[in-house]
């Protein structure tokens, strides 16, 4: 009892993996055992079945073969005896006797084989007993063969084609007829034919009385020959000799016939001896087949029993293993799960008690430990929570106060924002109104300021043309001055309008080839003044993004200025090209701070228009771009001073910058970028 307890203790202390390992190994061994058993049983059954079926079948077949061959031999023999008289001995011998002999030989062969079989295969003791029968059968067959042989010889003696008794009889018969035909004695001939007739009848029917009748007539014929007057002594002797020969042959034929008949009787006897043996053999073979079937049945029953036993053993073992595993693992897992569920529901006092030393036992121990710690922690936590809750409530109160303040501040901000937005909207409306006013102003400037100018110019012109003679030189001069001023004012108004139009117009964005535009402007300038010697150098394919119309206006002004201010040069040179901020030497340009600070400090593309004209003092550089600002006297270079203002507006509207680099008498360069747009 204590040993059982020790074993169970040992088992419960094993690890789960070991337990499962053992269980599965055991199951594996059982499975292999069942498989091997089944295979072995099946193999035995199969082999036994094969052996039995094959041997019994073979025996049965051989016996039947033997019987069939014997049957055939007999039939052929009968045929031979029946047919040799009609088709001739040789033909009948060839066709039937030989065939019969062949069948007999086969019977003997099969019989020998069968005996061999029975001896070789230790199939059944019954067959050992049949050995005697087999021997009798064998002897009987051999006897039969010998009888047939003898019968055949007898028939040969009787019926051989030329040497047979029948042939000889025929010969003697002919010779007898010849010898008695030497006389005209008809009685002799009639007697002869009578004898012949009986003889033939005998041969046809084999009825011995007929032959006796033939002999009786032969006695009469002998007497008739002896008494014949037509024959001499020699002839009589000759005829009598022939008759004797004839009779002797006939007697012999009868004897041979008797012998043959004897053989036939012998056959029947032999058949009677063999047939029961054959029947017995067939019955035995059938029995043997049944016996083999019985054996196979027994074997398969036996194997079924073995398989059942193996299955029962393995099922039982599986059940035991499952039970053991359940006992030591599943039940413990369920216990643990129940404990876990309880813990989850909040029962912190729950513990799992497992009587096991495996991992599950350790798990339970760990679980119990955790439970204890959880209890402690929960207790601590509850205390802490209570403490914190107090604090939070206090903080919340503070916070809500703060939030109220914040809300007030936000409301104020909202209010301010709304006011601000309203003001911005108001301003926008005001600005839009101002813009509209400005446009209206530009319109009236263009329209209304021109009218009085036209009047001044027109009437002074009329005065000059119509009343020229009545005015002295001074008077004419004053009128000229009025006219010039009017015209100049007209130009100023036009330029001012252009400037305002550039500010107002919509900006298109498309690729613009400023090289093309520069070349067109150059061509126009040259056409207006073909006398001038000037060289234009325009870089290829300067493509920028912008408004083609405005860019053309800017370039017209820049190139126009270059053209104008290089007018005094013997050989003017005007260049349009592209460079970079770094390469345009910005640091060396003596630019006023108001311009310099606006130039982008970027690696962007910089375009320029350069001339070798009169240039200017860089001290005035920042004034250049103001409208109506001029650096030269009117009589030196005419113009309204609006051109660069237009250039600057165009470039600025394209997000770029424009700045000059010049020296008095050293020419001027105007750089420009398209910063925002490029």
């Amino acid at each position: 009892m204590s040993k059982w307890k020790q074993a169970s203790q040992f088992w419960s202390n094993l690890g789960i993996t070991v337990k499962f390992g053992l269980a599965f190994t055991l199951l594996l061994i059982l499975t292999i055992f069942v498989i091997v058993t089944s295979l072995a049983t099946l193999t035995i059954v199969q082999r036994e079945t094969d052996t039995n079926i094959i041997s019994t079948n073979a025996i049965q077949r051989q016996i039947l073969d033997m019987d069939r061959a014997l049957e055939k031999a007999r039939r052929l023999e009968k045929e031979f005896f029946l047919r040799y008289p009609t088709i001739g001995y040789s033909a009948a011998y060839e066709e039937y006797a030989l065939a019969a002999a062949e069948q007999i030989a086969q019977v003997v062969t099969v019989n020998t084989e069968l005996q061999q079989y029975i001896t070789d295969l230790e199939i059944a003791t019954v067959w050992k007993a049949t050995d005697v029968n087999m021997n009798i059968y064998f002897l009987a067959v051999n006897r039969h063969a010998a009888s047939v042989d003898e019968a055949t010889q007898l028939i040969a003696q009787l019926a051989a084609d030329e040497t047979g008794l029948l042939a000889q009889l025929q010969g003697q018969s002919v010779m007898l007829l010849e010898s008695i035909q030497l006389t005209d004695d008809l009685d002799l001939v009639i007697l002869y034919y009578e004898m012949q007739s009986f003889e033939k009848d005998y041969l046809n029917t084999r009825q011995r009385p007929l032959m006796q009748s033939a002999f009786n007539i032969a006695v009469q014929l002998r007497g008739a020959i002896e008494n014949s007057s037509g024959l001499n002594a020699d002839e009589k002797m000759d005829a009598l000799n022939h008759l004797d020969e004839y009779l002797a042959l006939a007697a012999e034929i009868v004897e041979v016939d008797v012998a043959i008949q004897g053989k036939f009787n012998e056959f029947d006897l032999q058949a009677k001896a063999i047939d029961p043996i054959t029947d017995k053999l067939i019955v035995l073979a059938d029995l043997e087949v049944e016996r083999a079937q019985e054996r196979v049945r027994q074997l398969s029953q036996f194997s079924s029993v073995i398989l059942m036993v193996a299955a029962v053993i393995s099922l039982g073992s599986t059940a035991i293993i499952a039970f053991t595993l359940n006992n030591s693992i599943t039940r413990n897992v369920i216990k643990l799960k129940v404990a876990m569920d309880k813990l989850q529901e909040g029962d912190l006092d729950t513990r799992a008690y497992l009587d096991s030393g495996d991992e599950l036992g350790q798990l339970a121990a760990g679980f119990n430990d955790m439970g204890t710690r959880l209890q402690t922690l929960v207790t601590n936590l509850e205390e802490q929570v209570a403490e914190r809750t107090l604090k939070i409530e206090m903080t919340n109160q503070e916070l809500s106060l703060e939030i109220d303040e914040r809300k007030k501040a936000e409301e104020q901000i909202h209010k301010l924002n709304a006011e601000l937005e309203k003001r911005v909207a108001d301003r926008t409306i005001q600005l839009q109104a101002a813009n509209q006013e400005l446009e209206a102003f530009s319109y009236s400037v263009s329209h209304d300021l021109r009218a009085p100018l036209r009047a001044m110019e027109g009437f002074s012109a009329a005065l000059l043309s119509k009343y020229k003679d009545e005015l002295d030189e001074q008077g004419q001069h004053y009128l000229d001055r009025i006219q010039n001023s009017s015209q100049r004012m007209g130009h100023l108004i036009n330029d001012l309008l252009n400037l305002s139009r550039i500010t107002r117009s919509e900006l298109a964005h498309q690729p613009v080839d400023i090289s093309d535009i520069a070349r067109e402007i150059a061509a126009e300038l040259q056409m207006d003044d073909p006398q001038r010697q000037a060289e234009f150098v325009v870089a290829e394919s300067l493509i920028v993004q912008g408004d083609a119309r405005l860019l053309r206006i800017a370039l017209q002004n820049l190139i126009g200025n270059a053209w104008k201010f290089s007018g005094t040069r013997q050989k003017a040179r005007i260049e349009v090209g592209q460079t970079t901020i770094a390469d345009c030497g910005l640091q060396n340009i003596d630019l006023p701070e108001s311009l310099k600070s606006k130039i982008p400090n970027l690696e962007s593309k910089v375009y320029f228009v350069r001339d070798n004209g009169t240039g200017f003092d860089m001290a005035y550089a920042d004034k250049l771009f103001g409208p109506f600002q001029r650096l030269h006297a009117m009589h030196e270079f005419p113009g309204t001073g609006i051109g660069l203002a237009i250039v600057q507006r165009v470039i600025t509207r394209h997000g770029g910058r424009v700045w000059p680099d010049a020296q008095v008498d050293q020419g001027a360069t105007f750089y420009f970028t398209f910063g925002g747009i490029q």
């Binding site: 319109y443 009085p452 009047a455 027109g458 006219q483 015209q487 007209g490």
Partner: protein, 147 residues
């Protein structure tokens, strides 16, 4: 010259006189009827208002129309002319100080036949008037008015 009337619609007396002077200098001696505002121009053309009682007015061969006019401006006058079958075929040349693109577009859209900006220089102005007279009164032909 050939009895063709020019209707000049102009509110500025200076411009009116200069125009007449220019016509005279160009030897264009046709009768010039001057209307000093839009309403007057329409009254003349449709024989209404102050022209209602006078003898039936004759249809002008050419109308020189300023844009900026009192009461009814030039574009409105043009619109009314083009809307009426009696006047819709009369050549109208806009003669104005404005070089605003929108004015030009509006004028052509309403069916003006020409748009000429009055140059400040008189000889340019006189030359423009001469060209206009030669072209519209002599060279150009218009269909006979259907009454």
């Amino acid at each position: 010259m050939n009895g063709k009337i020019i209707l000049l619609v102009e509110d500025n007396p200076d411009d009116e006189e200069l125009t007449l002077l220019a016509l005279k200098e160009s030897n264009i001696l046709n009768e010039v009827v001057v209307a000093r505002d839009g309403v007057e121009a329409l009254d003349y053309l449709f024989a209404t208002g102050q022209y209602a009682e006078s003898a039936p007015s004759r249809t002008p061969q050419l109308i020189l129309l300023d844009l900026k006019l009192p009461k009814l401006d030039g574009l409105d006058v043009l619109k009314r002319l083009r809307a009426d079958p009696r006047t819709q075929l009369i050549p109208v040349v806009i003669l104005t100080s404005s070089s605003e693109e929108e004015d030009m577009v509006a004028s052509y859209r309403l069916g003006a036949n020409s748009y000429v900006r009055k140059p400040v220089e008189f000889h340019h102005f006189a030359n423009a008037i001469k060209q206009l007279g030669l072209y519209w009164l002599i060279l150009n032909e218009i269909p006979q008015q259907k009454q």
